[in-house]
């Protein structure tokens, strides 16, 4: 199988989708001729034409609304929001419309829209190119929320998302587009080529929405995380020698409570981790549900390792990002308590 980075695997997913289904259309700011500011759609307009892959005006609300209308007509739009920081002008069309049309029409209309958007920090993007707004969308009944952490999952999940009859907000951890990240900013960039999940089939396959994966088995504690931090967690476990079991959620809504609970019943110690601000971040939902589900198995408080309750700073981004050091401290805290 060919090695792909996450941008290539996303590109391959869209290639497969465009190839197989004439109802799939892809649009967003700069996604057409240019192929997107990160290159996720590179070459697709040339291959499939101006009416399948095209530029959209800079109006995230219009982009989502256009996708809703097209989906109601039977198309399968995959819309890109250039940075997830810029999804907020379009959030009303997601919260009030996309998530509810099937429900409020009693299943007369469905809007199978995928909104792809790069999220997370670690690229010196400052406060307007670094947000992780996933928690907002997990509070919206009617949408699914997906965040892959490897090229293989990114392709399989994007195909599954596009083939799903229900809307998906698809976050792409841009820090790991080009290689996994161990949470040490100064370490040399790793490549996906050496990662087992950097091997990606050319053709069609899906990864199930709603299923988490145990990416590292362990006995000492359970780490529940997603996206970039999956790799930081793995590196932290290796570096610290702490025998952590690491769960890559992949889907946040609906999240895979079974896999989480089974692990926590085994370890009794939990770290939930994300880059987004702490207060009302998705870690809160995980901690709340885990303590309810596994109360009598818990030996120490569930530890929330998160970004701070501030905007994402530019110069001090590494003081904000939950890097390897903070991760190791978190693992120690829950295992040594």
């Amino acid at each position: 199988m060919p090695a792909m980075n996450m941008l290539q695997s996303l590109n391959s997913a869209m290639d497969v989708l465009l190839e197989r289904d004439g109802d799939v259309v892809i649009f967003g700011e700069d996604v057409g001729y240019f192929g997107g500011v990160f290159g996720a759609t590179a070459g697709l307009q040339k291959k499939y034409g101006l009416d399948r892959v095209f530029d959209a005006p800079i109006n995230e609300s219009a982009i989502v609304a256009m996708a809703i209308g097209m989906a109601a007509k039977g198309l399968r739009p995959v819309a890109e929001i250039q940075f997830s920081d810029y999804i907020f002008p379009g959030i009303d069309q997601i919260v009030s419309e996309l998530s509810r049309i099937r429900y409020r029409s009693a299943d007369q209309f469905r809007t199978p829209v995928v909104v792809r958007t790069p999220s997370g920090g670690g690229i010196r993007g400052g406060q307007t190119h670094s947000m992780s707004p996933e928690a907002f969308f997990t509070h919206v009944p009617g949408v699914q929320v997906v965040i892959p952490s490897t090229p293989y999952d990114a392709k399989g999940l994007l195909i599954a998302a596009t083939e799903s009859d229900d809307p998906v907000i698809f976050f792409e951890p841009k820090r790991i587009y080009n290689g996994p990240f161990d949470g040490k900013p100064d370490a040399p960039l790793k490549s996906w080529a050496k990662h087992p999940k950097g091997e990606v089939p050319e053709g069609h396959y899906t990864v199930e929405i709603g299923k988490a994966e145990i990416v590292r088995e362990g006995q000492a504690c359970t780490v529940v995380t997603y996206g970039t931090l999956v790799h930081v967690a793995e590196a932290a476990a290796e570096a610290s020698g702490i025998d952590a079991e690491i769960i890559d959620l992949k889907t946040l809504a609906p999240y895979d409570i079974e896999t989480i609970a089974a692990s926590v019943h085994k370890t009794g110690r939990v770290v939930v981790a994300h880059e987004a601000p702490r207060t009302s971040g998705f870690g809160a939902e995980l901690a709340a549900q885990i303590q309810e589900e596994c109360f009598y198995a818990l030996e120490t408080p569930i530890f929330r390792l998160t970004g701070w309750d501030t905007p994402y700073p530019h110069a001090h981004e590494w003081a904000y990002f939950p890097g390897q050091e903070r991760f190791i401290r978190a693992l120690k805290t829950v295992t040594e308590a």
């Binding site: 259309v25 009416d51 005006p57 109006n59 609300s61 219009a62 609304a65 256009m66 996708a67 809703i68 209308g69 097209m70 989906a71 109601a72 007509k73 039977g74 198309l75 002008p89 009303d92 069309q93 009030s96 419309e97 049309i101 099937r102 429900y103 409020r104 029409s105 009693a106 299943d107 007369q108 209309f109 009944p141 009617g142 699914q144 799903s164 009859d165 229900d166 709603g210 609906p254 409570i257 079974e258």
Partner: protein
Amino acid sequence: MAQDAAGQGAQSRFHVPAPPARPGEAPDFSAYSFQKAGEAKRPDPLIDGARTSDLAHGLVGVLDHNHQAVGEWDPRLSPEVLREGLSHMVLTRIYDDRMLKLQRQGKMSFYMKSAGEEAVSVAAAMALNKTDMVFPSYRQQGILIARGRNIVDMMCHCISNSRDNLKGRQLPVHYTWKEGGFFSVSGNLGTQFPQAVGYAMGCAYKGEDSIAASWIGDGTTAEVDFHSALVLASTYRAPVILNVVNNQWAISMFSGISRGEASNFAMRGLGYGIASIRVDANDFLAVYAATRWAAERARKGGGPTFFEMVTYRKDAHSTSDDPGKYRPKEEGAQWPLGDPIDRLKNHLIGLGEWDEDRHAALEREMTAYVTKAYKEAESHGTLHDGPLSPTETIFEDLYDKPDWRLIRQRRDLGV
């Protein structure tokens, strides 16, 4: 307007617009100027949008003060079609009045009438093809009636009973009827406007010749989605008809709060290079002809049309407000463009195709029809006394299959 500001002392000052008349004052329409019926030219439907400035600043009207059809826009409809339109409008008004009474009796939680605006929806619905998808606001119930939806079903929705096709999930008048090409009405103003453009783009993408049409109010033109819709329609030359129903009021706010210094709403479309036309929307023939023109334009690849449908909201905004609190009571009665039903009725009478007796008979017939329909609707329950759709339906239709959260929550509720 700048001048008087200058007159006020040539110094910038805080300015908030106010309507010409408030309760207790005499209605004042001096700010309005309407082009005479028959005067507006009817260009080829494939005209360059930028060249519609006269139509945006004028007023497309067909019925003159003698109720005669005049000018290039006369659609030359047969008496049968005119009588059909009249009867749809009469039914819409009687239906609304009845629903309002029932709301007052506690049979439903809420209601919104379209009194005075019946031509906007009925004429448009008749001018469009049944396969054209409409994205209405909550005040286009006339479209459902004109497209022949069973009013028993409409009532079952309004009283949220066991036969409500929306399972009691939506407020009354927030209809959905896919079979009839009627998209889900949202309670959030304006959101359907850009969605209609996306749908129309989908029609073009699939190479079909069906189109989409949407309606929002004058107040809603201020909303962000208004701009989104016009940008999309212009950029992708979408086969869509975008209607602004200017009924002069947005709950208690007069149209000047959203229109600002502009002299009308139709102008707004010109800035996007979209064909923009102001229509006397209390004139059934004008709405019909204009909609036909726009539909032809859209189907032939001419792209979008933007309409300001000029009308007046005769009654309250909804069952939640009293218009006497914010506008002169007599304003509606004195509205210069009259009433759409009276005007079409008088036109037909002028043609010798209608008379007062037949009209009275029509009203009696429709009243009986509505009364009978309501009896049937109520036999399926009411919001107040039930039966409603089964409680467990609140957990359905979110996803293909409910996930563990919904399954547990339904169990927690014990249904």
